[in-house]
Symmetry: D2
């Protein structure tokens, strides 16, 4: 087949329009739009940087152009294998996209021979995410390393990291030192691997809940070489604050113990990003796992894993045994091209600028209801207010009232709750410490929140708290009346 | 800007992959898919034939590739005009398509400088429709002529034809000889133009209603040069049968009177297509107007106009003063590429093969209810059955029952109805004749109907008729009982 | 079939989840989202106001929910008519939308029995456009009137208005008084109707080109009752300024002559809107025709027609003989719901605030190149700068250079051009006056233009003008050298 | 908020249209379409069966209707958590779908409180897949069990099964008995878990490669309780044939050893399905893992896991630590609703009917090139032909020639290849046995292949083989000539 391009199709070798009715100068301007689009792609692939934002129709054009290179879309293709990316549904066929998935049986990061276009899309995605981390978020250590984009949630990605670490460790290393953070996924990741969870206790310092570094050191000393790695957490619900990963990574470096950082939604915080960089520079960091949806505002279900050691990151890709669904990569591709570096920087910056307002509104509601904001410096994403004037039962009511009033994501944490997760017992579950002493409510100012939402959050929370008080007063008045009635009877 | 193509972007001049991680042989196979797609387009434009069907993802690729050539999608474009095809809605932006519309202020068929890609799509559509008409439907006269695709319904297209004829006729030619066919749009077209409607009466021959050619000739003789043109109809509801356009076109040729054929859904009938060819060969035909949706199964709202005289067809395009919405062309583009010549031939052929079954099922229902099918030879799309055993009121009930039972498109025509349309009075409206004498019900076997639907049509129609009879019997029993009661009282 | 709603499907009469694994409280919150969406629709339909903006996924839900009411989407529907909105292409089927089109054979504004959902969408669109005109753009006279949304361009809409006027006028009224504006569509509209164009000349007042009201009055007096109507224009390319429609409408009122206003992109200008209101209040206005795409940023190809007399607007709908394509309505529906009243007000307001910047940038480029901005007060959308220092040939070069440099929409108008349109000769075509005396270049600051674009417009225009000068100088130097050489030879 | 439904919105309590211009009877017919759609959903959820196929527009309506119940689509929702399913890209927002993903931190099968609509979609998918397996594929044992749909490839799903088994087994059970099948993913699954791979050797019986049951038994006896489980394979490349899982499951039952069946694309083969049922009935089966894309023709990247023990299947879901991407479920939902039970049965049946033709065509090509088809009874999906007359190098050429000629999925297996996978050495890799003795080429007749493709496969393969021979002959002729030349020189 002769090599053809769209310019060659529309304008013949004689310089004339193939469709004689269309003036050549119209076509030239149109073709320059196409060249311009392609030069975006060329620069992306050769300079390994995220291109400036593209208009949506051009992104679609690129997406279709690239996926049309996959074998199943080749008009002449005959599929003779057991997996040919055929679709039974005309609706799915009409939607296009990365049908052949990504990766190859041995490695989810390998190029798929049947899907050259999907491979290009995978490259662009990795280039884009690395560019954002390295240049927008100042992680200079990535210059010599790489990133892995996994179509699995943070938890399963941590599990794959643990399995990767396990593979290169002595068989006796079966324990995971885990700085307590009351969130199921991470615990599950360790348990699912069949590894032993060693919980590093937290301590309460004023309002703040933070990892007890002394306990961590002694646990590390005690368990020695049976420790596979230590998992720390940077992004967490208040009053838990980000782990002091700089100190911990130094300790781990000195003990030659691998360090896995659960950085789920930490990329949106410069405070955390700075700590990451310092940890890498001064201590030991093996894997940092961040959620794609929480930081880049894409659909739920992907993660990016990175670290200073290129070899370890590549090794991780080999742990996903087989080809994965292409949606996570496709959605990230679309988002990166539409939003661009500048756009993501603006989104993160907007959150930072919104923070004082959020804290102010939240604090005012607390005060207006006789409560106060918890002082949890270090955590600049999640915040909490006390619910001291409410009973545990009322706290429960507040939780469900907020949910039905469409204030999604607030958490009410009562006192004295115990929870068993996979055989492990956690006292005071929810607060990341055995006894926080007071009920509280958390809310987050996460990337994507709008100023309008902050105001509305304040209003609804306030009216909800007031309603609970009113109900209580009504109940009490009723009780008193009944008492009086009884007295009268007597 | 240097000329770029996707092959050049992905594989450098040194023969190596721009993204080094992707093996060049993967890319080569992928790029051959792209070349193959482009060669489809090249052949279409240079050989002026409809390409073989393409897989949906490739059609989307082509659609996006082409519309990305339009100026509003050019990443560098700065719009300094009053109309720059900007979109306020992100939903529309995400959908793509022909935003700049088609045509230019003077001519809906002219190429739009700001939309080179849309222009290519317009060309493909005209090539495709002409190929289907000329080669699949054997209209050889198109070899030296052309077609015009209008984004207007059949009625408005007829109106534009009338205005075009008016423009080149003496100012005294203000009357339109119209072979009666009881359908509002066509009448409206004439009236909207401010022209005088001269209705050619029909006559009933056995079951058939057909234009009275003698009346036509004498009207033509009487009104002479004041006649702007004659409108005939080929596709119509039974018991009206297609006009004998061969004879009429001969008469009109002899009288030098323009001939406009309302061929709304006639393209699906070979019988009608043959008559069209003969009319062109032996008589006078100026414009044939056919519906796009009814014949090509696209969304409602477009028409194709053709005829043996290229100049007249081109003249018509110039009557649409301005740029038109691009959707009709876009949808036709997608349909032509997906279905292809072979596909359309199969769709029309399927209808032809389904016809005997349809007639059988319909006839059986008629017989089972003491009625009979109308013998309306010549009309091979719409069929009718008598409703002799039903009162006019019951006929009305049948109509609405069928509608609420999801049998859409059946028409029940009662007797003795008069209707005034734009000042014109039509007796026996619905049957195309003053007094057809009997109530009847029509149903059509049109392209796209499935065998399964024919069976279901029979069942529902039968049960509906039986229900009306039952209700009547119930009513009658009730009445009798009441009579008996009264008698008893006496 | 029993009446079913989604709430009843998901939660049984016993208050339990139909799918037992889903907690009822999850469903309740979800269903409240659906109720909230439906209440938007309810308020829209019953209060007849545009709802506040909806998130895109909810708009899609509403669009799909409504179009699923159309018969062709009914799972039980059997199509027995000649037009059943069947689609041959799976790609189109997957896209959904208003397949059955809008309107009915007699009236494009009538409800289509086979497409109840499409009818609801049509209602919402008319409610929304009317709300915007009446309340955002302060056209109080619409309170007692209505609007018609036509799926035809401005030009064809004007044609339909002319035909409507013609219908209710004496047959002798065959002339259209047209205030000269050099744009093809409007001229074509008149000519396509077979009406006689009476051009009202313009006069040049300083830089400004404006209708000669004295000439208008005397033409009106001279032609008397043979004048069907007068067409004025509000939005136009500089140096032409909007017609003084207030004065003209008073004159027309006094002469009892219909008044049609070509207000293509005038809705974005409050200056023009104010004039419209005053014209209606103080004079005679029959039809105002505005482009949908130019004012509401939707795809090209629709128009809204309005005026103070409800009957006349309704009459117009009856002139479109048949059902029209639904895309224009569908796209408008999506845009109105996504952008909302507030959003459109912001878009128009943004343009207004951008104006001074645009004028400044444009003026600076003019000055920097020894030219000046034309003073065309009254036109606050299109602006012009002189090209006095350039030859006519160079002006032509500038035009095509701007086009190939992706500055779309700039117009360079040379002097001394004559153009024949449909037999009518126009001297000085482009400038709306016989001899404007100087070449000039226009650019528009239309709704949707961004500040970034204004800056880029300035830069490119400047560099383009400088390049032409450089070329000229190079040419001249070359010539001089040649002269010198020749001299030397001598 | 008052409970609202679309019927209540469009038709008021007074029985009148909310939008007075729309006749109530139009609305009633439209609303019956909606009720009909909802009754599909109701039956699906309450009867737990796959509904009959729905037209694509109705599927889209259902998809949008359900996902609009997710909190992020609620017009009133304020997100105060760290994960609120916000999207940065307008393109993704316009696409809709399951943005919130599926599952909850503890269990990928749990319902997500923020995404009630997604939960309903998950239920429908599980109901549909189970219905297909239980009723279309006759797996009666599912009546009392369940299925788990995982958004992970077959390999990662096997890994999760292994981890689940590991969790409930004694810590000493660290070895996996694996019936050799030369495919990387499965090996990787075991190695990634950190488990020891015990390869059960195959034996060659005539052309067939099959598991050595004697070896399996003795390995099992030797390793005893240190065996975690045995992995067998049913669908595989010829000349490997499906494992005799009935016998193996009996052995495993007697030894109380868990049994995991890698049934990647086995669901399309009734022979394999029968074996599965018998294995469950007569022996021990813990997990059967099948690919979604290979059996149900959806995009790559999902798996269904099932077995007779409901508890074990549910336990598996709990191993995925966190919420997963929703695309796999969404695509399956769309496919199940569009294709339906009948549709899938037809697709699988089509493959069965195509088999003899495929074998005939393949055999003829073999014979025409002096080769023969391998006799590999038991494998009715993949087939092989010898390449005895070709050198190992030529075999390599054949492989890449087929790939570049768009015959995707053919595998050429040379002799004498060794491969090291994760430290494990495999002789004769590709053929699943140490020394198969002859080069061969495989091709599969998998679900979705069309008759047209079979013919084209034959033609291209034949021409390719002939070309290799021609090249060889050319080379040889050249050599001979050179020899002759040299002789002449001497």
């Amino acid at each position: 087949m002769p090599k053809l391009d769209i310019a060659g199709v529309l304008i013949g070798a004689n310089g004339k329009s193939t469709a004689s009715e269309i003036p050549v100068n119209h076509l030239r301007v149109g073709l320059s739009a196409h060249s311009s689009l392609l030069s975006h792609l060329l620069r992306t692939l050769s300079n390994r940087v995220l291109p400036p934002p593209l208009p949506p129709p051009q992104i679609l054009t690129l997406l279709h152009l690239l996926t049309s290179l996959d074998t199943q879309n080749h008009p002449q293709n005959i599929g003779c294998g057991e997996r040919e990316a055929r679709l039974a549904s005309s609706l799915l066929l009409s939607r296009g996209g990365l049908i052949h998935g990504i990766g190859r049986s041995g490695d989810v990061n390998e190029m798929q021979p049947k899907a050259a276009g999907s491979s290009v899309i995978c490259c662009v995605v990795k280039i884009g995410v690395k560019d954002l981390l390295q240049n927008s978020l100042k992680m200079a250590f990535l210059k010599k390393s790489t990133v892995t984009v996994l179509p699995t949630c943070t938890g399963l990605s941590i599990l794959l990291c643990l399995l990767t670490l396990k593979k290169s460790s002595p068989p006796t290393a079966t324990k995971v030192l885990w700085c307590r953070i009351d969130q199921k996924s991470c615990i599950k990741s360790v348990q699912s691997c069949g590894l032993t969870l060693l919980t590093v206790p937290t301590k309460k310092v004023n309002d703040t809940v933070t990892t007890d570094l002394v306990a961590l050191s002694s646990l590390l000393a005690f368990h020695g070489s049976s420790v596979l790695c230590c998992i720390t957490t940077t992004s967490c619900f208040a009053p838990r604050v980000p782990d002091d990963i700089v100190s911990i990574s130094k300790i781990l470096k000195s003990k030659n113990t691998p360090h896995l950082i659960n950085n789920a939604y930490g990329l949106q915080s410069n405070f955390i990003n700075d700590m990451l960089v310092q940890s890498v520079n001064k201590g030991r960091v093996d894997y940092v796992v961040s959620s794609l949806d929480k930081n880049f505002m894409v659909p739920v279900g992907g993660a990016v894993v990175f670290g200073p050691d290129k070899g370890k990151i590549k090794e991780l890709g080999k742990m996903y045994p087989g080809r994965a669904n292409g949606r996570v990569v496709e959605d990230l591709f679309v988002s990166l091209l539409e939003v661009g570096r500048e756009g993501y920087e603006e989104l993160w910056e907007y959150r930072r600028r919104l923070l004082p307002k959020f804290v102010k509104v939240f604090g005012e509601v607390a005060e207006a209801n006789g409560e106060r904001l918890l002082k949890t410096e270090g955590n600049d994403i999640s915040f909490g207010m006390t619910l001291e004037n409410f009973t545990n039962e009322e706290c429960g009511d507040i939780g469900s009232m907020l949910f039905t009033r469409c204030l999604s994501g607030c958490r009410v944490v009562p006192t004295g709750v115990s929870k068993n997760i996979g055989g492990e017992e956690f006292r005071g579950f929810g607060s990341s410490t055995d006894d926080y002493g007071v009920c509280y409510l958390t809310a987050a100012c996460a990337v994507g929140m709008k100023e309008r939402e902050v105001n509305e959050f304040g209003k609804r929370l306030d009216s909800c708290l007031k309603e609970v008080v009113k109900k209580r007063e009504k109940r009490e008045r009723k009780k008193e009346k009944e008492k009086e009635k009884e007295k009268e009877k007597e």
